[in-house]
């Protein structure tokens, strides 16, 4: 046999072997059935699907033989793949091509070999489907034709596996792309960090239900000349359309609140902008405006089709704040009301999206009883502690995104 010179052609062939990613893959029933059929048809003890690697011949399937691979030099398959067609040795002990081969002259005692190259569509021989016997024998043209057909089946199986692997890889790539888009969009729905605001300890959390599908929850904390605006909202629907609507609503509201201390007036302005955009989207939101007084903090709240913020008093009582007005951006003439509450140090306003309601109380739930039960024992706790408990209630198994902001008066 001798060492093969690894020329340009052989390098290309080895690249093809790598492309099929089959070397050292686990046993596979489909290939084992083919070698079993080949052995039975030829009435020989051994049938092999071999792949010729750089320095070894690896057996994808080895019927009637314990070895999983042999060195490339003594292997007959390495010779068989050099041609285009069947490579048949009827009597190896007298055949000049094989009589000196250690598998023939040595203990193994190989005397018959018929191999068909496993040829790729672009013309590279990866290995062989071969049958082996310890006795010399003749083969008919019909038998060689059958073995050739079986080799084609082996190649079909290998092509199939490569396509399947590629599809899986492509799907993973698409998922990664979708996640990047979702992450980028999501980042536009909330501030990168909560700004420090005077008189308040503010903590926010955002829980994404599915990383590849962006949701429509949004919130913001806006320090202004008149005080601090905090709002939480949710655009109807899911996906990029919802996220785009949520992003627009967040920035529109952020801008309006800079010079509008009355949440209801801000909501009317947001409603007008969104209702005339003609995009068949609406958002819901709760908007709070915090202003520091001489001995308490005043909070003004307006609600547009959104769950009520809950006011957890330092002593453990819970109040709802705000009067529900219509969803924002659908009806052009919607009106909203501002409700006022005075916060003493330690009082906490909790604003959230319906994802928190669902996570705490169940699918389709609009009642906030479950959230009240979580909050009641947390009176006089820090904003971070309250947020941690709400996080725990949200858990990981959700169908909707969930966002909340906890603002504690200092």
């Amino acid at each position: 046999m001798g060492g093969l010179v690894v020329g340009a052609e052989e390098r290309e062939r080895l690249r093809a072997v790598q492309r099929y990613d089959i070397l050292d893959s686990p046993p596979d029933g489909a290939f084992d059935r083919i070698t079993a059929v080949a052995a039975r048809l030829f009435d020989v003890p051994i049938a092999i699907v071999s792949i010729v690697d750089t320095d070894r011949i690896w057996f994808k399937s080895h019927h009637g033989l314990a070895a999983e691979e042999i060195g490339r030099d003594p292997g007959l398959c390495a010779s068989a793949i050099l041609g285009d067609g069947p490579w048949v040795v009827n009597d190896a002990k007298v055949d000049p091509r094989t009589l000196a081969n250690p598998l023939v002259a040595g203990d193994f005692g190989l005397q018959f070999y018929a191999g068909i190259p496993l040829r790729t569509q672009d013309g590279y021989n990866l290995g062989t489907l071969c049958v082996i016997d310890y006795e010399p024998r003749e083969v008919s043209d019909a038998e060689v034709a059958t073995l050739t057909d079986l080799a084609a089946v082996v190649m079909d199986e290998m092509e199939l596996r490569m396509s399947a692997r590629r599809a899986v890889g492509l799907e993973a790539q698409l998922r990664r792309n979708a996640e990047t888009v979702a992450d980028t969009l999501q980042a536009s729905l909330i501030p990168p960090a909560i700004p420090a605001v005077s008189g308040l300890d503010v903590v926010s959390r955002y829980h994404v239900a599915r990383r590849d599908q962006v949701g429509g929850d949004f919130y913001d904390v806006v320090p202004t000349e008149w005080g601090t605006a905090v709002f939480v909202g949710d655009a109807c629907g899911k996906g990029t359309t919802a996220a785009a609507a949520a992003g627009s609503a967040r920035w529109a509201l952020h801008a309006v609140m800079l010079d509008e201390a009355d949440p209801a007036a801000a909501m009317i302005r947001l409603n007008t902008v969104l209702a005339t955009s003609g995009d068949m989207q609406y958002v819901t939101a709760a908007v709070a405006a915090f202003r520091r007084g001489p001995d308490s903090t005043e909070v003004a709240v307006a609600i547009g089709g959104h769950p009520h913020p809950l006011l957890l008093r330092r002593a453990g009582l819970i109040e709802t704040v705000g009067i529900t007005g219509p969803i924002i951006g659908w009806f052009p003439d919607s009106r909203y009301n501002t409700a006022l509450a005075a916060l003493q140090p330690g009082d906490v306003l909790v604003m959230f999206t319906d994802g928190l309601l669902e996570a705490a109380a169940g699918h389709g739930e609009t009642n906030d009883r479950a959230i009240r039960e979580i909050l009641t024992p947390l009176a006089n706790h820090s904003a971070a502690e309250i947020a941690d408990r709400l996080d725990a209630a949200i858990g990981t198994d959700r169908r909707d995104d969930a966002a909340f902001v906890v603002a504690r008066a200092l």
Binding site: G216, D234, A235, C236, G237, K238, M280, Q281, Y282, T284, I303, G304, G305, H306, P307, T324, G325, P326, I327, W330, F331, D354, H363, G364, T366, N367, R399, D400
Partner: protein, 106 residues
């Protein structure tokens, strides 16, 4: 998450159409609901539409938008559009959305 756990039953009597909506009205159901109502409205002989939502077991924001789009379409066709919501999940969602007073009921 979406489901296909919804169905519509359309009844027409003397040009008065009644669409009974059943099951979970979410993102998967929004477009079919709008299409079903659009078909009823475009049939020409339709003088009024009632959307009966008492058989709805769940509705989310997409489902609500579907109902509002139906209402908007009826308005465009100048066809009276009324709802039946009962006191179940749809009524609660309408209340949360602050739209109970914005729609007409049978």
């Amino acid at each position: 998450m979406t489901s296909n756990l919804f169905s519509f039953e359309v009844q027409s009597e003397k040009n008065a159409a009644r669409i009974r909506v059943l099951g979970e009205i979410d993102m998967a159901a929004e477009q079919p609901l709008v299409a079903a109502t659009s078909e009823v409205l475009s049939s020409g002989a339709c003088a009024s539409v009632v959307l009966d939502l008492t058989g709805v077991s769940f509705m989310d924001s997409s489902g609500l938008r579907g109902v509002l789009r139906c209402q908007q379409m009826a308005q465009t066709h100048a066809v009276p559009f009324k709802l039946v919501v009962g006191d179940g999940p749809v009524a609660r969602l309408f209340k949360l959305a602050g739209i109970t007073g914005q729609l007409e009921y049978e």
